[in-house]
Every structure is written in C-alpha cells, then in structure tokens.
C-alpha cells in the first residue's frame, strides 16, 4: 500500500526555458466576445471577429492592402519625420520617444499617404497609424495631409482620410494645435475645387482630429462601434460626475446624432468606396 505514495517516475524535468510554448500570434482572441480563432483566419476576415463583428485596430499597411486594387499603391512623402521644434521633454525626451516609436512600429510617423486605384477609380488615401504615439497629430501628420491635398488638387483626385487618433500630439504643443488649422484651411481649397473628400473615422477618433479634418468630409463614414468624440469619455465622465450612458460616443451614437453619413463594416469598405467614387464621377 505505501508504494502508492512513492514517486516511481521522475517528475517533469524539462526546464522552463526548454518548454515548448504555443508560438505567439498563432491564435487571436477577441477582446469583446473572447472567441478564439487562428490568426490566419482572423487576417483573412480583415481583422474583424467572425463571431461578434468586433473591428480590431489595424494600421495603414492593412488598410492600403484592403482598399487598393491588388494592394498596389504609390506612397508619397514617406520620408517626412518629426523634428523637435520645442526641444520637448516630459518624463522622456521627445526625440527618444520618436526614435523608439520609429524602431518599434517601422513607421516614420502617425500617418502615411498613398494613391492608387479602387475598383479602377483613382484615390488618394491618408491613413493614420495608432501604433505611432497613439496616432497623435503633430507637424508631420499635418504636412503630409497638406501635401496630399496639393497632389489631389493637381491631379483632380478624390481624397480619403482614415482617422485613428487620440488627438493632437502634446510634445509639439501649439505646433500640433495649428495642424488642426492647417489641415482644415487646406481642405477649404479642395472643397473649392469640388474634389470629393471622404472621411473614414475608425476606433478611436478623438480630440483635435475630430475637431478638424475627421468631421469635415463631404461624407463622414465610420467603422462599427468605433469610439468617436471630441473630449475623451474619461473627461466627459469627470465633467458630468455621472456614469456615461451605454453606447455613448460610439459610431452608432454619432450616426444617430447626425454627424455621420453611414457606418460601413470593413468587409464592405472597398466596395462602398468604389461605389461612392463612381457616384461622384458619373
């Protein structure tokens, strides 16, 4: 009987470092409904949960692939990088923050501009990258949008801006603030040329981006259930001292209050854009 309690076999001898882990990134777990699916399938579904339609945040690389015919495009002004005009330091130097972000994201700043075809229609796309300092708008974002608009005017090409941003970049302070002015006054020139501008608001679009180009589209469209607002939900909650109503500042809420033309699922995005561009053209 006492043999039962004797350890006959050796215990697990594999050291922790030799243990075989499931390689990272093989599976995707939806943060909303917790459904787990292979990452490959998730990517094939344009990073949208098959179960609950949760739109996972994606960047310019993915949007360009989704939108442009055969994923083919010409990027412009890719070389632009942020300077540090104010020699800004908070808990970290801004220049160090920039270097780290560039290394981590393999992006030069929080927005890329590229043109190509969408169902055969020319389109300039300016797409924000949230992974780069929260998609914050500094001088580079403003300058790239401004130059993209110049290109659109020269080539009579419609413009799509995909917003995904926490707002203005604090480390460039008033320079960032003035990018709201810069992008908006420049859009007034595009409007005078009667060139269509479509604004796509994705999760999240807040602050100075909402209060400038993101809300100025001839058409404002949004992905489902994106956070869209001027003040962030935490600030609004502190202001009113009450819990926020369910669904506050979602795309659906903003549509209901009259500030969006349409909510478009990512899988319908390209087709919708193609149709709209045709409508403007014909």
């Amino acid at each position: 009987m006492s043999n039962w309690f004797k350890r006959i076999k050796e215990g697990i001898t594999t050291s922790t470092k030799d243990k075989k882990e499931t390689p990272e990134g093989l599976w995707y777990k939806c943060p909303t409904c917790k459904t787990i699916i292979p990452s490959e399938d998730h990517a094939a579904n344009l990073f949208v949960c098959v179960n609950c339609n949760h739109h996972h945040k994606i960047g310019s690389k993915e949007y360009f692939k989704i939108i442009f015919d055969n994923g083919a495009f010409h990027e412009i002004n890719a070389q632009l990088k942020a300077a540090d005009p104010l020699n800004f330091t908070d808990t970290k130097k801004y220049t160090i923050r920039l270097d780290e972000s560039i290394k981590k994201t393999e992006l030069n700043d929080a927005l890329r501009t590229a043109y190509g075809k969408v169902h055969g229609n020319d389109l300039m796309v300016a797409c924000m990258d949230f992974s780069f300092i929260g998609g914050s708008m500094g001088s580079v974002v403003g300058e790239k949008i401004s130059r993209a608009i110049t290109y659109c005017i020269e080539h009579q090409m419609p413009l799509l801006i995909i917003s995904k941003s926490g707002g203005a970049r604090m480390m460039e302070a008033a320079f960032s603030l003035m990018q709201m002015a810069k992008t908006s006054v420049k859009l007034s020139l595009l409007a005078q040329e009667k060139i269509p501008f479509i604004s796509l608001l994705t999760d999240p679009t807040t602050g100075g981006v909402t209060a400038s180009f993101a809300m100025l589209g001839d058409l404002n469209i949004a992905e489902p259930n994106a956070l869209i607002g001027f003040a962030g939900p935490r600030v609004v909650k502190e202001t009113i001292g009450k819990d926020l109503p369910k669904g506050f500042q979602t795309s659906e809420f903003v549509l209901e209050h009259g500030f969006l033309d349409k909510i478009v699922s990512r899988k319908d995005l390209k087709q919708t854009l193609g149709n709209l561009l045709q409508m403007f053209k014909n």
Partner: protein
C-alpha cells in the same frame, strides 16, 4: 478687495503703504506728496521688475486673473458702448459663453465676437466659465457669415479654458462645430482679426481663431492643452504644471518666436488687470492699425495669405 497673486505681493504691500499714507494725510492734513511720489516710483519699479521676469506659469496665472478685462469689457470699450449683442445659433439655443454682435469702431461697423467669462460665482456659472458648447461655435459662425454678407470686418476675442467637455456637447457635435469654423473661417471674404485676451486653450480657442492677424496680449497663453492637464497626462500627476507651462512654450513671446501668432500686444505695466482702461485703449489702437492694413488687400489676397500662413505652420524633417 482685488485679488493678489503670490508674486504680486511686494506690489500689493507698497500699494497698501500708499493707501495708509494717504489716509494719514487726509486726517492730519500733512503734506505727503513727496512720500507718495517715492512710493509711486517704488510701485512702478516693483511692477517692472516683477512683470519683466514672469515665468510661463506666472503668466498663465495672470491670464486667468479675475480682475482682467474680459471679452465684453473690451468690446464695449472698443466700440464706445455701441455694441448691439445678437443671440442664438438658430438651431439649439443661445450659448452664454460665446457672445457676439455688431458695434461701431469709430464709425465703422465691426462684428465683435468673443468667449466670455463671468466675474462672480453666479455669472461664472451663467457663462459656463467661458467654455462654449457646440451652439456657441455655431452662433459665432452664424454671426461671421452675417458680417461677411454685409461686408463688415470681424474681430474675435479669445479667452477660454477650453470647449466644454460635457455630455450634451458631445451629442451636439463639439468636434464638428469647431472643425466647421476652421474651414469656414479660412474662406471668409472680410478681414478677420483674432486677439487672445486671456486663455487660449486648444481647439476651443482655435474655433474662433482663424484670422488674417492673430494677436496675443503680453500676459496670455495659447496652446494645445492647459499646463495642468498636460502635467496630468504626460507626468501622470498634477504637480508638474510649472514644468509643463515651460515645456509647452505657450507664452505670447514664444508663440510669436515660433511664428504661430502674428503679433504681441503690450499690456499696461503690471498686467491688464491693473489698468483695464489703458488695456482697452491699446487693444483698440492695435485693431484699428491692423484693420487699416487689411483693408488695403482684396478679399482674394487676404484669403490666400491667410491660408498660406496656416499652411506654413509646423516643423518637419525631409
């Protein structure tokens, strides 16, 4: 009793001394003119010394000084009390944090618009602490369009701790309201002069800030965020507001050096709050001067210059 900021104490003490001397003199009939003169000199010297060396944070405090003249005070003074206030955005309501209307600037009709703060607890609430809702920006835009229609120049007075971050403000599209003003102001055919008279906090200030000339009073600030909020976000604590104020380069002189505003308007020695009448006079003079210059340009020239100016803002590496 006037509000005294910490660093103004030496001045306040001298003022108090002067008052006492005057009291004694009026009771006893003794000639104190020499003492008064000496004290006046000292007061002037103290003001000069203190105000020439204000830190950015101290300037932020001056910009919020409760005795500073607010928008309506400037408007009434500049228009010699001819201002006719006009109300409402024609959609939702009349925003009390944003005021506007026609007034006569030495015989010439001008549309005056501004963010208005209150002067005591009751009026501060009534004015929502100078924080407009979307209807405020839409009212401002309506009045600007009205001015454009009848070819009247526009002068805006900026003084806000920010656009109101409330629930209804979000429902009614605070972001859209500000954005709309930015794009519409770019194409206004009449001259537009914007003067920061106190606080220029972020998009809330910019919403009436797209002008041919954007001027800042000497002791005001203009930036993307208040130093307090900046401290709380970047330093994760409220204790770094002085540091944040410095880092943001938000003073009139910094903003001018960075070519983000077109000019600085000097304040009376010791700040606009020590001599509002003088501040009014200086501001009126500046507005007239710039209006005359802008009149010389055609609407097309003004719009082109305005757009070019804002498009040149920003620093990037190629």
């Amino acid at each position: 009793m006037a509000t005294v900021l910490d660093f103004e104490k030496p001045i306040a003490e001298l003022l108090e001394q002067k008052e006492k001397v005057e009291q004694v003199a009026s009771k006893s009939g003794v000639d104190v003119s020499k003492t008064i003169k000496d004290l006046d000199e000292k007061i002037k010297a103290a003001r000069k010394n203190i105000y020439e060396h204000l830190t950015p944070w101290q300037k932020v405090m001056v910009s919020r000084h409760p005795d500073r003249p607010y928008a309506i005070s400037y408007i009434n003074a500049v228009s010699d009390n001819t201002w006719i206030e006009l109300h409402g955005d024609r959609t939702v309501k009349d925003d009390k944090a944003m005021v506007g209307g026609f007034g006569s600037l030495d015989g010439r009709t001008v549309m005056f618009i501004g963010q208005q703060k209150g002067t005591n607890t009751k009026t501060r609430q009534y004015r929502n602490f100078g924080m407009p809702n979307p209807e405020g920006y839409r009212k401002a835009l309506r009045l600007m369009k009205l001015a454009e229609k009848f070819n009247k120049p526009i002068v805006t007075f900026i003084d806000t701790p920010g656009a109101y971050p409330g629930l209804e403000a979000e429902e009614r599209g605070q972001g859209e309201a500000i954005a709309r003003n930015l794009i519409e102001m770019a194409q206004l055919r009449v001259p537009v002069i914007c003067v920061v008279i106190g606080e220029g906090a972020s998009g809330g200030a910019l919403g009436i800030g797209i002008g041919d000339k954007v001027l800042m009073l000497e002791n005001t600030w203009y930036s993307v965020i208040s130093p307090e909020s900046c401290s709380s976000i970047l330093w994760r604590s409220w204790d770094f507001k002085e540091k944040a104020a410095e880092a943001l380069k938000l003073t009139a002189s910094d903003m001018y050096a960075n070519k983000l505003v077109d000019g600085i308007i000097n304040e009376p020695l010791g700040g606009a709050h020590t001599n509002p009448a003088e501040a009014h006079k200086i501001v009126k003079h500046e507005i007239k001067k710039h209006l005359d210059k802008l009149d010389a340009l055609s609407p097309e020239q003004r719009i082109e210059k305005r757009i070019k100016k804002f498009c040149a803002m920003g620093v990037v590496k190629e």
